[in-house]
């Protein structure tokens, strides 16, 4: 028997993602009794006993465009994944096989009753997700990286787990001022976002945390150590403690993202890695966050195969700085071998590399991470994130 899952369509084109596992046939009839959660895959996109392998093992189908990354833009509808059972141990590229049965599954980012509210006030561009129930709720400010735009799915999931969550756009969004390839907002923008959450009548003002991925880490640590704001806890994933650029100060014209490109490296396929930009030694010293001012618990999550950010070196500096300041007890460090830069909510596939820009030329960037260990890291890290939020925001 051969189980085969297909997701049709992604955020910018109709590509087919597929994964397959091959399993031993025990009995053959129209009604098969085997359980993916218990039995072992002997080949295909993954090996061994992997209950969720058919989801995280999804890869672009043969013939798909290069550099795809699977991300849900519209969180109000589910991913639909079709699971098929085919005869024999086959690969999609081998052509047709007899399809014995199929079911469709729906994977949702929003639980029933979760409310999605567009935020366009005080100059902010964001989306607030509120859980069902009477409130008020503990809350999270949700920050992504230099890829920009407004990424909602992690916030939608937090709301589905009982936390109000605000996804905030700060670069690369048409409703933000200035050119899209540039950081045009400053500290007051993030302060404003945090205040909006704190003062919201559905939020417990004294239970607001911040989560950041990639450049979002820098922003998270900056808010926590260089403003008067007092988040209850911080979650930082694969990101730097400084920048080659800073949030714009009035009159500063050096805020172009491109100013870091002397640190870009390329592999033999011409794919770019931004990793060295965030090596602590390469950061503009005045941008480095003052970690010694940290006054709340911090969870730092890193993928040891992160090719986009110098996460290991960064974590080392954080650890040393906090130890010197007598604040080691605030830090939890989670390090995942084989995981890459994009440690996201679990059971979606990792992209080891994907399209970064199309103009002036097509450029693919490296994220790192190998499929199986990255999937394991996401599952483990997500649980740790939710437990950390529970301890710090609910108790």
């Amino acid at each position: 028997m051969f189980m085969y899952s297909v997701y049709r369509g992604c955020n910018f084109e109709k590509s087919y993602y597929s994964s397959h596992l091959c399993r031993q046939v025990v009995t053959f009839s129209l009604y098969v009794t085997s359980t993916v959660a218990r039995d072992h895959s002997v080949g295909g996109s993954y090996l061994g006993c992997e209950p969720m392998g058919l989801f995280w093992g999804l890869q672009p189908a043969p013939g798909a465009r290069e550099g795809l990354r699977l991300r849900k833009k519209n969180v109000e509808t589910p991913f639909v994944v079709v699971m098929s059972l085919l005869e024999g141990h086959v690969s999609p590229s081998e052509g047709q096989s007899t399809e014995l049965a199929a079911v469709a599954t729906e994977r949702w980012y929003m639980a029933p009753g979760v409310r999605r509210i567009e935020i366009r006030q005080n100059g902010l561009v964001g989306t607030l997700f509120l859980p069902t129930g009477p409130g008020p709720f503990p809350a999270m400010l949700d920050l992504w990286g230099m890829g920009g735009g407004l990424v909602e799915y992690r916030s939608a999931l937090f709301a589905s787990r009982g936390y109000a969550s605000l996804s905030l756009a700060y670069i690369g969004h048409k409703e933000l001022p200035g050119p899209q390839n540039r950081l045009n907002v400053d500290d007051s923008y993030f302060n404003s976002a945090f205040h909006l959450l704190q003062n919201h009548d559905q939020v417990c003002g004294d239970r607001v945390g911040i989560i950041g991925l990639s450049f979002g880490v820098f922003l998270t640590l900056r808010i926590a150590t260089q403003t008067s704001l007092k988040p209850s806890c911080l979650i930082c994933i694969n990101g730097p403690i400084g920048s080659t650029i800073s949030p714009r100060k009035t009159g500063d014209t050096t805020g172009l993202f491109g100013s870091g490109d002397k640190y870009w490296t390329y592999d033999d396929q011409g794919h770019v890695s931004f990793r060295d930009m965030s090596l602590p030694a390469n950061l503009s010293p005045e941008t480095k966050v003052k970690l010694e001012h940290l006054s709340c618990p911090l969870m730092y999550i890193l993928g040891e195969d992160d090719l986009s950010s110098s996460s290991i070196e960064t974590a080392d500096v954080i650890e040393e700085t906090l130890r010197a300041a007598g604040k080691s007890q605030l830090l939890t460090r989670l390090s995942y071998p084989g995981a890459g830069h994009l440690i996201e909510p679990p059971y979606t596939p990792n992209a080891r590399a994907s399209l970064w820009t199309v103009k002036p030329k097509k450029q693919i960037t490296l994220w790192g991470g190998h499929l199986a260990p990255h999937a394991a890291a996401q599952e483990h890290a997500w649980k740790k994130i939710l437990d950390f939020m529970e301890s710090n925001l609910r108790r």
């Binding site: 079709v82 399809e99 049965a101 029933p112 009477p134 009982g162 108790r395």
Partner: protein, 438 residues
């Protein structure tokens, strides 16, 4: 505001599921030994509100798991994983004798589950709960397709399972209230059976001409299924509840067109004039109209209209002719049809004919007439309008709520097993060819 509110964690998993799927309700982060009430609220399509509630005391870890812990009182007691759904009842002040039935199966039933402090019995809407969540209960699984069918003059809806097919088929019949009732067929399709919900008492053709349909209408429905490109024509079953049983047995025993693989009859009887048209069968019981009982609560009891079970073979379907497996689902407290007496007589007939190896009877003491898919509220009596008499009454269906709800769960599981064995199985216990002699 109680500052502990933000702590209480309420989860219902899965938050989206099929109507016949179990869920686990978990309350966490409350103090140990804390008194709380778990409440369910559903607003149905016709605007009525239904509620259920149960009293719990949290354990030493401050947790309640509804699938493991006992309710100390409320609309159910004891350990009842799905009690919050099957014990739903109209909120105080509602119209009497309501029945909860989903009409639009393309949308889910939404149930709000909430946790309140203390052991409460009323006034839930005037209070703020500690936590609340919404659960969706679906009759259609992802990928199931709904196809209205009008060919051949039928008023029907076909539900096709997700996937490529072809699939075994099923004709799904309800009873004397008429109308096109889709939810059971939708649910059966979610379990892999291409199911045709058939309106045979109030179809368009009857509403326009005034004529009740006859055998050829059912045979047309069978043919539509048989010839459908996504249906396995040699694997078609028929399922009837109440008057639908009368039609099902009639077709299974006497139709030269239908070659049914297996048959399921719920809450019905084999008593009917076997030479009669559908219209004659419908009016047959009216001859005994005097036997209709009305109890002190003004509820109508129809079961005696067919009693005693006749000895004259002209008035009962000759089930000795059947050549395919027959499953009878019987509530012993059925106040509408004499399903128990009929089942016993059918068993007798099949034993004498030598085909009783085809017969399975599921008997449920204290279950009533309306044995439906599980985890929706039981109603011992509801308003009812028969298509033939046009009178609106309150009919007594029977059944004691806890026993009836448990019976529904058991009967549904066994019905699905029976259908799977006979429609998906590779062995063929009865002859797959027509159920008739020679």
């Amino acid at each position: 505001m109680d500052r502990r509110q933000y702590r209480v964690k309420l989860s219902v998993q899965p938050s989206r599921g099929l109507v016949d799927e179990k869920f686990i309700i978990l309350v966490q982060n409350t103090p140990p030994g804390f008194w709380l009430t778990i409440h369910a609220l559903h607003k149905c399509e016709d605007g009525h509100s239904w509620e259920a509630f149960a009293h719990y005391t949290t354990n030493a870890t401050g947790t309640v798991n509804v699938s493991e812990d006992p309710s100390l009182g409320g609309t159910y007691s004891g350990v009842e994983q799905m009690g919050l759904l099957w014990s739903l009842r109209p909120v105080p002040g509602s119209k009497p004798a309501l029945r909860l039935r989903k009409v639009n199966v393309l949308t889910p039933m939404e149930v709000t589950i909430s946790v309140y402090q203390g052991h409460q019995t009323k006034g839930f809407m005037d209070q703020v709960p500690l936590a609340s969540t919404v659960v969706e209960r679906w009759y259609m699984a992802p990928g199931v397709r709904r196809v209205p069918i009008t060919e051949g003059g039928l008023t029907a809806t076909l539900f096709l399972p997700s996937g490529l097919g072809p699939f075994p088929g099923l004709l799904d019949l309800w009873g004397g209230g008429g109308k096109l009732v889709e939810y059971r067929a939708a649910l059966l399709a979610s379990h892999g059976f291409a199911s045709l919900a058939l309106d045979y008492l109030t179809p368009k053709i009857t509403m326009e001409t005034g004529k009740i349909v006859d055998n050829d209408y059912f045979e047309t429905a069978y043919r539509v299924l048989e010839q459908h490109p996504e249906v396995l024509g040699s694997r078609i079953a028929m399922l009837g509840l109440s008057f639908g049983t009368s039609m099902t047995l009639k077709m299974a025993a006497y139709s030269k067109v239908m070659k049914l693989r297996c048959v399921v009859c719920v809450g019905g009887s084999h008593v009917q004039p076997i030479e009669g048209s559908v219209e004659q069968i419908l009016s047959f019981s009216q001859k005994n109209a005097g036997k209709t009982r009305i109890n002190e609560e003004n509820q109508v009891i129809y079961r005696n209209l067919q009693l005693p079970i006749p000895t004259d073979p002209a008035f009962k379907v000759d089930v000795g002719r059947l050549q395919c497996p027959l499953l009878l689902v019987v509530g012993e407290d059925d106040q509408c049809w004499p399903a128990y007496e009929s089942a016993m007589d059918m068993k007798d007939m099949m034993q004498r004919a030598g085909n009783d190896h085809l017969l399975t009877i599921l008997l449920y003491p204290k279950a009533g007439h309306l044995l439906e898919p599980p985890y929706t509220p039981h109603a011992r009596f509801t308003t009812f309008r028969r298509v033939d008499t046009r009178e609106k009454v309150v009919a007594l269906w029977g059944g004691e709520t806890v026993a009836h709800s448990h019976s529904q769960e058991d009967a549904w599981r066994k019905t699905l097993d029976f259908l799977r064995e006979n429609l998906y199985g590779s062995t063929n216990p009865g002859a797959a060819s027509s159920c008739k002699n020679n």
